[in-house]
């Protein structure tokens, strides 16, 4: 083997260990899950390694699954919108702070990620429960007569997920805000634009890539979230992730659980790739 050939192959050899890990830990298990979704399952016979479309037909025909997936993506979309609506202005405020204050506030923003998911979610449960701080406070103020239902509702799940996922949106938007020309607002101002016009016509179009990448991360994490929906949503309010979990560990119907998991993955990838293409085409100039 000549030196030139070995040098040309070097990148492959160097990336091989990483690729092997990726293959072993991600690709193979995913492939096996997909394969598992075509296996048969019975109460008494257990998992039978044959090829059947039974699980997929069940998901496609039973409106229960449709309802769960609809709820999953509804929650994910609302959470994505909420993180964008709160996160974009928040990133903007952070960007204008003095460096000292910014690092303190940045820590506060990242805070939710530093707390264990279970502790954080239980905290929300304590806060939002019918005898929780929020309800008691609102009742003490006389704003509501009876406790609002947060626990075991979509609203509660959305609040908890927004809280934990908002750092991803803020960090993504902040990164793109930092790439802006610091004089660009002054330039727009000198041409006669007020702050709202500057924000809408000059800043916002330029941070679309940041909002998009934040939205993709938030959407994917919200749609596949497990702990928050499991604790706040409870047994009744199922989403795709808790549904798959229950099929695996309660019903022990692994093939059906695998089908649910596979469908969630495929749907997520399709939605993300689709919306990504759409927005990139719309804002082609800022994506260069």
């Amino acid at each position: 083997m000549s030196l030139a050939v070995s040098e040309r192959n070097a990148p492959y050899w160097l990336t091989a260990p990483g690729l092997l890990v990726f293959l072993g830990l991600v690709i193979i298990p995913l492939g096996m899950t997909a394969l598992l979704s075509f296996y048969d399952w019975g109460q008494y016979k257990g998992i039978v390694p044959t090829f059947t479309l039974k699980n997929w037909v069940e998901i496609a025909t039973d409106s229960y699954f449709f309802e769960v997936f609809l709820r999953t993506f509804r929650i994910a979309i609302v959470v994505t919108l909420a993180t964008a609506l709160i996160g974009v202005p928040e990133a903007n405020i952070l960007n204008r702070m003095s460096p000292a204050w910014r690092s303190i506030c940045m820590l506060v923003v990242i805070g939710p990620l530093l707390v264990s998911v279970v502790a954080r979610t239980l905290g929300w449960a304590l806060l939002l429960g019918s005898t929780g701080l929020v309800n008691q406070g609102l009742m003490a103020l006389g704003l509501i007569g009876s406790p609002l239902e947060f626990m075991f509702t979509e609203t509660g799940v959305v609040i908890a997920l927004t809280h934990v996922l908002i750092p991803f949106m803020i960090l993504a938007v902040w990164a793109s805000l930092q790439r802006l020309d610091p004089q660009i607002e002054n330039a727009a101002m000198s041409l006669g634009a007020g702050w709202w016009t500057i924000w809408r016509r000059v800043i916002l179009p330029q941070i679309v890539p940041g909002i998009l990448s934040g939205a993709i991360i938030v959407f994917a994490l919200a749609a596949s979230a497990f702990a928050s929906p499991a604790i706040i949503g409870g047994r009744r309010l199922k989403v795709a992730a808790t549904l798959a979990y229950d099929e695996f560990l309660n019903t022990l119907n692994w093939p059906l659980g695998a089908a649910v998991a596979t469908l969630l993955l495929v749907a997520l990838v399709a939605i993300i790739v689709g919306s990504n293409r759409l927005i990139e085409r719309r804002y082609a100039q800022v994506f260069e």
Binding site: D181, P182, Q183, I184, N186, A187, A188, M189, S190, L191, G192, A193, G194, T197, R201, V202, P205, Q206, Y283, Q285, V286, E288
Partner: protein
């Protein structure tokens, strides 16, 4: 009444004074440069005029009206930024039309004026181009067109040419001057580049550490610097130590010359290298010896150890014999070529 008047303008950041006691009157159609090293307060001054930085002390009057009461987006000033600050998500035409749009000008009129502005800066046919697909020089033209299309009361240029390479910069200097002459907009240029300031301006305001050192036409400031700082900042200069005779004359090693404002006792004169005349020893003048000479094509640069201290002399390559190293020479200069430095023997 002057078009733009700065009265005792001052700005502090905490304990640091960025600008202090700046007085300046700019006439309509004038091209004035704020020149100085970085940190001299020239950019802060520009930003106060633009309204991006609040004024701490003093007033800014435009056509007699105080600008303090006018929000930055209502001042109607055209500004070209060092980074150009073009809107990357808009085409050239959209960038230029933005200011007109903000003024609620109808589409037809907007398009007409955008095309005119593009023609003025030599960007015909670039309407649908995005800034990122253009060279630095072209982006610079877009920024200029965007600032000029709104027919600004003032054109403020913040180091507009510093991101261009030397050749392009020279080209743009000529063009900028010509455009400014054509439309006659009062212009304030902020720059640290002395050549740029001298090439472009009607008057130069030389600033140092937040204060004005000297204001005047480029040739006047260059020829008669009022301080050692000005003399050193604008081009190369020689500091000559001499004795004031008390009769309006200065004597150096027996060579006497009349200098405006000269008193008695030791003093320092500034004389430009191209104004010192080198003659063979024995001619009228003060003595010196050539330490070295460097050929520069169109001129020779001679370093001379003289009775007035070490000097640099620029000697045109005019075909006459140039003194060689070690040769004794006689130096002189004409009355108008020496400027008395007010800070005496400093530096």
């Amino acid at each position: 009444m002057s078009h733009l008047v700065l009265e005792g303008l001052g700005k502090s950041y905490g304990a640091v004074t960025a600008v202090e006691g700046l007085d300046l009157a700019v006439e309509r159609g004038e091209f004035v440069s704020l020149l100085g090293p970085s940190g001299c307060g020239k950019t802060t001054t520009l930003q106060m005029i633009a309204g991006f930085v609040p004024v701490d002390r003093g007033r800014i009057l435009l056509d007699g009206g105080d600008l303090a009461a006018v929000a930055p987006n209502r001042r109607g000033l055209g500004i070209v930024f060092q980074s150009y600050a073009l809107f990357p998500h808009m085409t050239v035409a959209e960038n230029i039309a933005f200011g007109l749009e903000m003024r609620g000008i109808a589409r037809d009129e907007r398009e007409k004026r955008t095309l005119e502005a593009m023609a003025l800066v030599g960007l015909k046919g670039f309407a649908d181009r995005y800034p990122r697909r253009m060279s630095g020089g072209q982006q610079q033209r877009v920024a200029l067109a965007r600032a000029l299309v709104i027919k600004p009361a003032l054109l403020l240029l913040d180091e507009p040419l510093s991101n261009l390479d030397a050749k392009l910069r020279e080209e743009m200097q000529g063009e900028l001057r010509q455009i400014q002459r054509t439309i006659g907009t009062t212009t304030i240029l902020v720059t640290h580049d002395q050549h740029e300031a001298m090439a472009l301006s009607d008057r130069i305001v030389l600033m140092n550490q937040g204060r004005v050192e000297q204001i005047g036409a480029p040739d006047a400031v260059y020829g008669r610097p009022s301080s050692a700082f000005v003399a050193n900042f604008l081009g190369k200069t020689n500091m000559l130590k001499g004795q004031g005779t008390g009769t309006g004359q200065v004597s150096i090693d027996g060579f006497a010359v009349a200098v405006e404002g000269a008193g008695a006792g030791p003093l320092t004169l500034a004389v430009r290298p191209e104004r010192l005349v080198v003659m063979p020893a024995g001619t009228a003048g003060f003595g010196g010896r050539v330490k070295g000479r460097v050929f520069q094509g169109s001129y020779w640069l001679l370093s001379i150890e003289s009775a007035a201290g070490p000097l640099i002399v620029m000697r045109g390559n005019d075909g006459t014999a140039v003194p060689v190293e070690g040769e004794a020479v006689s130096l002189s200069f004409a009355t108008g070529d020496a400027a008395l430095l007010k800070d005496g023997a400093a530096s």
